[in-house]
Symmetry: C2
Subunit: 184 residues, 2 copies
Amino acid sequence: MMKLIRERSDVLPLLTEVFRTHGYEGTSLALISQHTGLGKGSLYNFFPGGKEEMAAAVLDGIDRWFRIHVFDPLRSHEDPRAGIRAMFEATDRYFHSGERVCIVGVFALSDVRDRFAARINAYFSAWQDALADALRRAGRDEASAEDLAEEIVAGIQGALVAARALGDHTLFGRRLERMKSLAE
Amino acid sequence: MMKLIRERSDVLPLLTEVFRTHGYEGTSLALISQHTGLGKGSLYNFFPGGKEEMAAAVLDGIDRWFRIHVFDPLRSHEDPRAGIRAMFEATDRYFHSGERVCIVGVFALSDVRDRFAARINAYFSAWQDALADALRRAGRDEASAEDLAEEIVAGIQGALVAARALGDHTLFGRRLERMKSLAE
DNA sequence: GTCTATACTTTGATAGAC
DNA sequence: GTCTATCAAAGTATAGAC
């Protein structure tokens, strides 16, 4: 009954890199076709909603990855400090030490923000809330936990921007270390 | 001998807002024409290099504004702390308390980064260096001055991203306050 | 399910009248 | 110096053969 067909999930990682590199407006179907090796017909077969549905799927995939590797560990680790350490490691790994960019952040800055506002907001909220929860369980009071979580989540985004702007491969790791020490 | 013709500088502020709102790829000549009230012919008269020259002019205009209102005060204020305070005030004003976005940061995250790499790098470098200079003159040692300047410049960018992502009008001011207290 | 061919729109840019 | 008309190329999306 179940068929072994190629699925959306097979295309998703390739799709993600195209959107990450070129942004929403800069990503054309020709570019997608080229990088996935799929014709437009196949792409529309997987994503009948076209480019917008593809971008939405990309955002959902990112949210899934972070939920598994970042948000959930932050909440469920019995030692909250270990969860926070795991978060910084996963973050450094995911963004390739700052060479990669955060698509959610890129979308947030552009005018497609409105179209994906719910997903963008959910990603940032989930991260900040999970981190605040870990900080609180680590002994911080509610207010300072939320403030520090906001500082770190924003700080990660800023480090990605600055690293790209200055072309400095070492900046991202340096900023992560600094924020890690703040969270201890 | 000198003619009182409309100049590029008259168009620049309008142009800047279009690029700020829609990014480089998202900004079409039709949009520009609509928001400036100028036909394409006039636009190409001012900017023979087309869209790329317009974007370059926008970046140059931003650099000019920040040099006057941020970088120079940081360096030339006899009281470095006053220069730093002026920087935070100008920054808050320029970005409309976080409702506006930083075009240079947006460009840095997209694939047009390479095309404008020199200008993007210059803007971030100038800011960070001027701030580090003020911090050093305020009594910090070289290393910690540079580190804190990096943290603040990146932190401002991150605050802009997070504010837009979460749709939180209060976030930017809150983060600026925090960074201001760090710099004192 | 995948491809090629194609429709239709919008893009950046140019030409030429005024 | 400004406009309208127009160009070739690239954009998203669809149709239909296989």
